[in-house]
């Protein structure tokens, strides 16, 4: 493997020569050349930037979306068979931050993620990603937006007819013209990052639920996305692996990736999330930092934030 690999897709250049600080709780991350994850055109870490969208130095895109706003859901409403799942939901996610969506089962959290990636279209309202209105895009335009996003499904949704490694390599094979050995190398590194370095040649059916989830996360990270949408990453994982995944998400966030996490795991949300929001009966009933939600007087929010052991 050469020190430097040049990606053909989108003019993105990958530099494997940089050596960031190793993660404290996830040693396998260190085995991955961390620079491989980093796009040179990616924004600097969130901590270095001014995040408030209403400040005068924030530019705006043609759609009216502040340039630092990676995702915006504007008054999104969605119903299935007469049942309203999302009711006038508005969410803003700033670039390079982690946004955690909390809520009881069946409150529309996964539906919200599917709106962001364009798998579902809202009945009313609109969804903006990097200024592009995903809810009205189709075909190649929608595909171009999706190439910049990674999505971990709640069920992992691995392609069960190909190996775990080929699942991770799949987006690279589809969207780059890199040589086979480089794609395999990158897929192996993505798997190593989630602790599955020995499972490249296994079929998805040979993995446990937690391992499938991690493989799904590796696939979601395959194209080094600007935005990572993660649906219940710690479901089915032991506490140690769950903490390792949290650290991986934190590392990605520090490298400039915008992350939206749907979770029931409050400690994980506190650890990873810059901002938290709680969905209940299709509406956002609380939004802010973990401290803000701790202070909420809504009984459900208080009950949720105190359920530290939930996962």
């Amino acid at each position: 493997m050469t020190d430097r690999a040049h990606g053909a897709h989108g003019g993105v250049e990958y530099d494997v020569s940089t050596s960031p600080r190793p993660p404290a709780l996830f040693p396998s991350l260190w085995r991955v050349s961390p620079g491989l994850w980093r796009r040179r055109d990616k924004a600097p870490p969130a901590t270095d930037r001014t995040l408030a969208p209403d400040e005068s130095n924030v530019g705006r895109t043609s759609s009216g979306l502040p340039s630092e706003m990676a995702i915006r859901l504007e008054q999104v409403t969605k119903s299935f068979a007469g049942r309203t799942v999302l009711d006038n939901v508005t969410i803003d996610v700033r670039s390079g931050t982690a946004f955690c969506l909390l809520g009881r089962s069946g409150t529309g959290k996964s539906v919200t993620l599917k709106h962001i990636v364009g798998l579902l279209k809202p009945d009313a309202g609109r969804v903006l990603v990097h200024g592009a209105e995903v809810s009205s895009l189709t075909g190649r335009d929608l595909a171009n937006v999706r190439k910049r996003m990674g999505f971990l499904f709640q069920s992992a949704a691995l392609f069960d007819s190909i190996t775990v490694g080929e699942n991770v390599a799949f987006p690279l094979r589809r969207h780059t013209d890199w040589p086979d050995h480089l794609i395999r190398e990158i897929a192996a590194r993505r798997l190593a990052a989630v602790g599955l370095e020995r499972d490249y040649h296994k079929m998805p059916s040979e993995l446990s639920g937690g391992m499938r989830k991690r493989a799904g996360l590796a696939r979601a990270m395959a194209l080094d996305p600007d935005i990572l949408l993660v649906d219940e990453p710690s479901a089915g994982l032991d506490p140690i692996t769950s903490a390792e995944i949290d650290d991986l998400l934190l590392t990605l966030k520090q490298e400039g990736t915008t992350i939206v996490v749907v979770t029931h795991n409050i400690p994980s949300a506190r650890h990873v999330g810059d901002e938290l929001a709680m969905l209940h009966e299709g509406r956002i009933i609380a939004q802010g930092t973990a401290v803000d939600l701790d202070r909420s007087e809504h009984p459900l929010v208080r009950a949720f934030m105190r359920s530290e052991g939930a996962g």
Partner: protein, 258 residues
């Protein structure tokens, strides 16, 4: 009562319309990039090559049975010499294409319906879309095209194996040589017997691929839905093949009068 019947008929027509649009969209997208040649080749292998043993065995058996029936009929008139030609005409014009289509509908239609149905209920189709891959093109169009290409090839295999089976049955009874049997079999066969009858199976391939892919893509209700998609793929494709065959045979006779 009349209202119920009307509702059922309208629902059936709506379903036929949806499936037809699905198939037409697949044919339209065939000419738009990306062309997915690797996936098409992989499905031709899966649908065509891996169906070949089933098709060859069935063709052989059908040839033997047809030969026995033909002999029983023609023997009464002292026309045993026409057995090879009669068998070849029946096989190439009708029996071969129809039997091949029904066998492929059973094997491949069920497989496509179940595979795509399982992908639908386990969110694998959504996962394809999420990685910016056109799932319709990647999953449905490639399978439909593979069915269209594989069907005429498999039909040729059935025809050939059927003639071999016919010769084996004839050899057992009369000791007729292969060369003589072959010459007599093709003495009355012309290209316009073989080409239209074989090419019409491309339409059967379109029917099998479209119905199975449509039912797979519209699967709901978990594993039960997958089973239902698989079964309905076979049943509906088989019925439609038999009905369409009537129209196609009429069309062939119009274009190539006997």
């Amino acid at each position: 009562m009349l209202e119920r019947v009307g509702t059922v008929v309208l629902a059936a027509l709506a379903w036929v319309g949806e499936v037809s649009l699905f198939g037409l969209r697949a044919l339209g997208e065939l000419f738009l990039p990306p062309y997915e040649p690797r996936e098409i080749a992989r499905h031709i292998y899966e649908i065509g090559w891996r169906s070949a043993p089933l098709i060859a065995t069935s063709g052989l058996a059908i040839g033997v049975v047809l030969s026995m029936h033909t002999r029983a009929s023609l023997e009464r008139f002292g026309a045993e010499a026409l057995i090879p030609a009669g068998l070849a005409i029946a096989l190439i014009r009708e029996t071969g294409p129809l039997v091949t289509a029904l066998l492929v509908a059973g094997r491949v239609g069920a497989g496509i319906g179940a595979e795509l149905g399982a992908m639908k209920v386990t969110e694998q189709i959504d996962a394809l879309e999420a990685v910016a891959v056109d799932s319709f093109k990647y999953l449905a169009v490639t399978r439909i095209v593979a069915c269209i290409i594989a069907m005429p090839l498999l039909t040729t295999v059935t025809d050939f194996c059927g003639i071999v089976g016919g010769w084996m049955a004839e050899f057992a009874v009369s000791g007729m040589s292969w060369r003589l049997y072959f010459n007599r079999a093709f003495s009355l066969i012309e290209f316009h017997d073989f080409i239209p009858a074989t090419m019409k199976t491309a339409v059967f391939g379109l029917i099998i691929g479209t119905i199975a892919s449509y039912l797979g893509f519209t699967t709901t209700q978990g594993t039960e839905g997958v089973g239902r998609a698989s079964t309905r793929s076979v049943v509906l494709a088989s019925i439609l093949i038999i009905v369409t065959n009537v129209v196609l045979v009429r069309l062939i006779f119009l274009v190539f009068p006997a």
